[in-house]
């Protein structure tokens, strides 16, 4: 079983990636990077990461989230985060990244924010 499973779905012009597993150095971080690069190549620049199923993330995974954020911003797109676990929220708080990312607990609210 893959370290990180990513399922893609479309909600209007927003691409939602439902993620479950771990975003850690190696396979998990690479899977996230590959998915984001592919979406950008396909011209999909409004991306919502549903992290409800991500139970673990390390500094490499946090770095990959930042890398995704800056890559999408560079293409004039938007990356937003949905359903952070408490642990992930704590990590983003202590790294001061919670002020950088647009974070939502409701998918409807997150999708509306892209408009």
């Amino acid at each position: 079983m893959a370290e990180l499973n990513i399922t893609e779905r479309q909600a209007g012009d927003v691409t939602v990636l439902d993620m479950s597993g771990k975003i850690t150095i190696g396979e998990g971080s690479v899977a996230l990077r590959t998915a984001i690069r592919r979406l950008l190549e396909e011209g999909k620049k409004r991306i919502l990461l549903n992290l409800a199923g991500v139970g673990y993330i390390d500094s490499s995974g946090i770095g990959e989230l930042v890398s995704s954020y800056t890559a999408i911003n560079k293409e004039s797109g938007q990356l937003k985060l949905l359903n952070l676990t408490q642990k992930l929220q704590d990590l983003l708080t202590i790294t001061k990244l919670l002020t950088v990312f647009d974070v939502y607990e409701s998918e409807a609210e997150a999708l509306n924010s892209f408009k």
Partner: protein, 147 residues
């Protein structure tokens, strides 16, 4: 003449030592071994989570930055269950590391950097973190989590 009753003090220190190759999958292997060790140490779930974060970052540093992913070089890990704490050391065979050269990842100019948070996590989740440059070479990081 009064004799003091002899006092028996028993101090049990459980120690586990691991020696692993410098590969990325060593990080998960080390974390699994530490998790098993910690589960026997009677620490809280929060403490166990912090140790898990710290050991992954320390071993990642040893594999990637210390040993430069050279599989011929080993990462040595020692786990000690002390009466009042769990002590973990991670040793690499690299050229030596100075933690003071790593910039603060929470400084405004570094927040959007894609790396440089590992040591910050180790310091955040453990009670003590110190680095040593032993005479035989490499770098040793010693981390302590109190009970």
């Amino acid at each position: 003449m009064a004799f003091e009753r002899p006092c028996l003090i028993t101090v049990t220190v459980e120690t586990t030592e691991l020696s692993l190759p410098s590969r990325i999958d060593t990080v998960a292997a080390a974390a699994a071994a530490v998790s098993e060790f910690v589960s026997r140490s009677g620490l809280s779930d929060d403490a166990a989570f912090g140790i898990d974060m710290a050991i992954r970052e320390a071993v990642t540093n040893a594999v990637v930055h210390g040993n430069n992913r050279d599989e011929a070089k080993l990462v040595g890990i020692t786990l000690k269950s002390l009466p009042d704490a769990v002590e973990i050391t991670v040793h690499d065979q690299g050229p030596g590391f100075n933690p003071n050269e790593v910039p603060d990842p929470t400084a405004e100019e570094n927040i959007l950097k894609t790396s440089g948070r590992g040591i910050f996590f180790m310091r955040s989740f453990m009670d003590e973190v110190d680095w040593f440059l032993p005479p035989e070479g490499g770098t040793t990081v010693r981390m302590l989590k109190r009970r």
